[in-house]
Amino acid sequence: MEHGTRIKEGLVDIKGMGAFFYIPIGIMAVNAVYCYLTRGRYGVPIEIVRESYGIFPIICISFWISCLFEDLLNSEGREMLLSMPYKNLEYGLKRVIRYTLLYIIIFYIFFALAVLMIGRNVVMEAQDIYLPVLSIFFYSAFNFLIAVITRNSVTVMTAAGILSMFMYLTRGSASLCIYPLQWGNPNPFFTPYAVGIALFTATLALYAAAQMLFSNRDFLMR
């Protein structure tokens, strides 16, 4: 029973996102096509996948996370929702994580599709699993925090865009290895492992800060 309720609530969340739910999926599909078209290119096949999936499909989780709180945080719906007896952790962090996991599953479905399309012998390394996962979680945590602070989905996506631009240009050298684009646009001075640790730590800190603010309804009302 409990489980059934959760799935239905989830469907409303997804409907509430409107077109934004499908944008990341569309982008991943386009990238799968790109992998297919460039499959014959000279070089290591996995790098084609990394290049095409390592930037936009990772950043695009922002579309989902910013929408997840749109109704709670925009001025019209805020007050009613803040008077609800939801559990702060359940409606905040746990929901974010549930959608992030769903996103990661979809991400890997398209990842697998791209590998199939390339059709050559694609050799994967450990980083092809943990780097995208940690990077997506990093963006998810970053977006959650910005959403709670600014309460505006446009600002959240703008912030994600600016952060990505900054990350792309500096290749993480200005942010202590915290570099969520390492997988798609690697900084040769970093080991994937070090970036993984840095992303993991940063994600925990961002989630903690975001959830702390989210639990403070007085703050959300401001």
Binding site: T5, V12, G16, E79, M80, S83, M84
Partner: protein, 290 residues
């Protein structure tokens, strides 16, 4: 049932003192909160609805203490904020089901049952499959009312619920309120005196953050006793009344105008003292505060 007791609640926003030592005792039934724009009604409603914390003071209902048990309060609360909007992309029914889940209603069958019930109560059953984003202002308001009724709350708070409703819906809503007030506490804030006249057993008037409670409507109207006059004047005389004469209302007849006037002394030789209405009591009270 226990009384809702509001004790010396203070709230400031920077330099603005929105509530000063507001104290009320509210028992089962409909309680009206009357006040002009900026009086502090919404601030008080928000504090009761736990979305704002007071700077000082306490609210209790039986052994529930607002400062300690905000989660418990939220479980027994139905709140319609002054500004209401939600979920543009989903249908009215989906929106309510979602809110039902947030309110902790377990089981999809129960959610569906309650959703249908409240939709019927606000006369929105036919529109249940339409997207909320396409609703008119009044329909959205009714959806807001429906949402507040989910989970059969013991305490209902509605902030200017009739704003934007057409006359028929306004009357429907008043009837609904009266029904709800039979076995729970309903707090209704408004600056429309008629809403209060039609529904409330007891009320409070609030001005500049200070509240004064009245045990009945008569107690409020009694404030204006001896100060309200009806005066039948010719059109010309009516138009030449000075600005200092406080006309509350006037009825235009063919040959003359019948005006109701608030004045400390008899405003003219033909004026007759008359029974004050609540609105007049409220106006006199407001003038006395200045």
């Amino acid at each position: 049932m226990d009384k809702l007791i509001i004790q010396s609640v203070d709230k400031s926003f920077g330099r603005i003192r929105a509530l000063r030592q507001a104290s009320l005792e509210i028992s089962t039934g409909i309680f009206g909160l009357l006040g002009e724009n900026g009086a502090g009604k919404t601030t008080l409603m928000r504090i009761i609805a736990t979305v704002l914390k007071p700077d000082a003071g306490e609210i209790t209902l039986g052994d529930i203490k607002w400062s300690r048990d905000s989660h418990k309060v939220r479980q027994i609360l139905g709140y319609l904020p002054q500004e209401f909007g939600a979920f543009k992309n989903v249908t009215a029914e989906e929106c309510l089901k979602y809110i039902a889940q947030l309110k902790g209603i377990r089981g999809s069958e129960e959610c569906l049952l309650q959703t249908e019930r409240v939709l019927k109560e606000v006369n929105l059953l036919e529109a249940k499959d339409r997207k909320v984003g396409g609703f008119s202002g009044g329909m959205r308001r009714r959806l807001g009312i429906a949402q507040a009724l989910l989970n059969d709350p013991e305490l209902i708070i509605v902030d200017e619920p009739t704003a934007g409703l057409d006359p028929a819906e306004r009357i429907r809503f008043r009837n609904l309120l009266r029904q709800l007030g039979k076995n729970r506490i309903v707090i209704l804030s408004t600056h429309i005196v008629e809403d209060i006249e039609a529904t409330c057993q007891s009320l409070a008037v609030i001005k500049n953050g200070t509240s004064v409670q009245f045990s009945s409507q008569q107690e409020l109207s009694a404030i204006a006793e001896g100060k309200v006059w009806t005066w039948k004047l010719s059109n010309a005389d009516y138009n030449s009344l000075g600005k200092d004469v406080h006309v509350v209302s006037s009825k235009i007849h063919k040959e003359y105008v019948e005006a109701r006037i608030i004045a400390g002394v008899k405003p003219g030789p033909e004026a007759e003292e008359t029974e004050p209405t609540i609105e007049e009591g409220y106006l006199v009270w407001n003038m006395e505060q200045e």
